[in-house]
Symmetry: C2
Subunit: 358 residues, 2 copies
């Protein structure tokens, strides 16, 4: 624990959404305090943080003052502007570091990085022009999906191509942004591994969860996932390989397709991950605490699962079910305190704790 | 849920120690925000609350402003000055209410109240003068313990009498304060029931825990407690009787001695209780959330235990064991973020989660 931040130290979190909120509560349980930086006023994380700074990502003075008040900086989402990071980096350690952000902010860099590690991904090719799209289609095949290289998530900035006939329409959706064409992978189900790497290089992984998406949004994660022992071991080794290659510090989410040919990496997220929320009610140390341990230099904790869990996101109208969920058995509620309930908005999640049979 | 506070409502908490801190985090999980009122600056609860007011208990303006900013008021300790409550009561609902506070702020009233309910307590008698102490000793017998009627906890303001010879010395410890002489009860062990009563009168209880004290401070709570099914049922019925008699809203802790003649009530605490901390890692809904549900008018939740737990307080030098606890298996850490570690100070607790055997 030589390098660990002392009790009472302050963690700066970039982004004050639900992930920042749950990170802040985990930090408190370890005796740390959190300051939140978010351009939007009244962020959900602000309800449970010692301080909130409301300022744009390009406000140099606000960023400098924020850095001066904290001992280490982390973030709840990967698309933080490069200029912001350039300004903060000389002032305080940013964990995980720039390399992880650079790789994951760009779908093409991410795929190239994974391939260089020898990890299987969907077939892909870069696309900036109509000619490149033709070439990419020839390489990847159709159907395929065209995605902007940057800032795309949850189905935004994406277009499906059933055949080459859809090329022009799909390219228009990109609005001139650099893109990547990805082929489809035939898979039976998707799993994800939430893994952590400590400041000292130790690696730990939670049990893989099985994810169910609808309309491009995660709906449910079930733990344990349907995986053979060999697949489970593969999943964890893939995550460890990525963490080590990035000299990573913190928690990382890796989404994997389960195929007849083995596991294929779908994408990585350099942060705590929605599919890891089950750990709050199934493990002594959850993904949020594990991330805080890593970025503060504490030893990683025991993420062993002591209960099976089904995590269910509460999105938009799902909140109508709240009265019933409040009365349900073995249901742990985690609401995000967002003021407005809109369609498609993640308002909270519940962990359905599965009691041992018999 | 007709009477329940809307999401985003604000709960005012009197007292910003570890109990207020854990209440604030539980409130956040239900979508509420908390404001903390505490005379001491930088209270631990302030790290995870939306707002902190630092002002004395007799600052009428600060109290009025505090009340104006919240929708309901609750508290983390029972010894709030009467004048403070007088000022707040007309402004916002205080839950649990005055009756519970009046009873529990005075050891004599508490014992009288319990006896009127037909509940067994240790033998006791009021003591204000040397003559009354003689009479009390004749009634209660020796050895016995003399306690101030008000503001005593964790062994402060108490004196043991091995025989009548100790009378004068014990009375001196009271420094003129009204006191109560309590006889000793021969018991095999102490248990406590953490129970809740909702705004609609529903009652729910967590499984009783078995408490281990050292030097007058709770060290450990083990769940399940050593109780026969009949004793367990008695314990819950006693708690329910108390809750209903007080028209109580919120969580209450009841300490019970297990004797050959049955359960004897030691004391009650009109708040979340140290011996209920195990619920954080053994139940889908813990005592803090249960309290918030009650005071906001939400339905009480399922407090069923899904794991056995040993809760261990970290007091003073116990913090030296932190490096080892951080690496231990099935240990959930809950630190309080207190700046100074002093002898006898509760710095945090750990829940040792007991996995099902085999």
């Amino acid at each position: 624990m030589t390098d660990a931040l002392e009790a009472g130290s302050v963690i700066g979190i970039l982004g004050g959404g639900q992930l920042g909120r749950m990170l802040s509560m985990a930090a408190a349980r370890l005796g740390y305090r959190c300051h939140i930086y978010d351009p939007a006023p009244l962020p959900p994380a602000g309800h449970v943080a010692q301080k909130v700074v409301t300022a744009p990502w390009d406000d140099a003075t606000a960023l400098q003052n924020f850095a001066a008040g904290v001992d280490v900086i982390t973030f709840e989402f990967e698309n933080i502007p490069t200029a912001t990071l350039d300004l903060l980096e000389p002032l305080r350690p940013i964990r995980p570091g720039r390399q992880a952000l650079a790789v994951s902010q760009d779908r093409l860099s991410e795929k190239d990085f994974l391939r260089e590690l020898g990890l299987p991904t969907a077939p892909y090719a870069p696309v900036a022009t109509a000619a490149e799209l033709d070439a990419a289609l020839a390489k990847v095949g159709a159907p395929a999906i065209l995605k902007t290289r940057r800032l795309g998530y949850d189905g935004k900035g994406q277009a499906r191509l059933q055949s080459a006939d859809d090329a022009a329409g799909a390219l228009a959706v990109m609005q001139g942004a650099e893109a990547i064409l990805e082929g489809f992978v035939t898979f039976s189900h998707e799993v994800s591994v939430i893994a952590a790497r400590g400041l000292n290089g130790d690696v730990a992984a939670f049990d893989p969860g099985e994810n169910l998406h609808r309309d491009g949004i995660l709906r449910e994660t079930r733990v344990p996932a349907r995986l053979s022992p060999a697949q489970r071991s593969d999943a964890v080794l893939i995550a460890a390989k990525i963490l080590n290659a990035l000299d990573y510090v913190g928690v990382l989410g890796v989404e994997l397709f389960v195929t007849a040919q083995g596991l294929v990496v779908n994408e990585i997220a350099p942060r705590v991950h929605n599919s890891g929320h089950w750990t709050q009610d199934g493990c002594a140390v959850d993904q949020f605490e594990q991330h805080i341990r890593a970025v503060t230099g504490l030893p990683l904790g025991d993420g062993g699962r002591y209960a099976d869990v089904v995590m269910e996101n509460l999105i938009g109208d799902d909140m109508d079910r709240l009265p019933e969920l409040l009365k349900a058995r073995d249901v742990a509620l985690h609401l995000y305190g967002k003021p407005e309930c809109r369609a498609g908005r993640k308002m909270g999640h519940v962990n359905h704790i599965q009691r041992p049979k018999g």
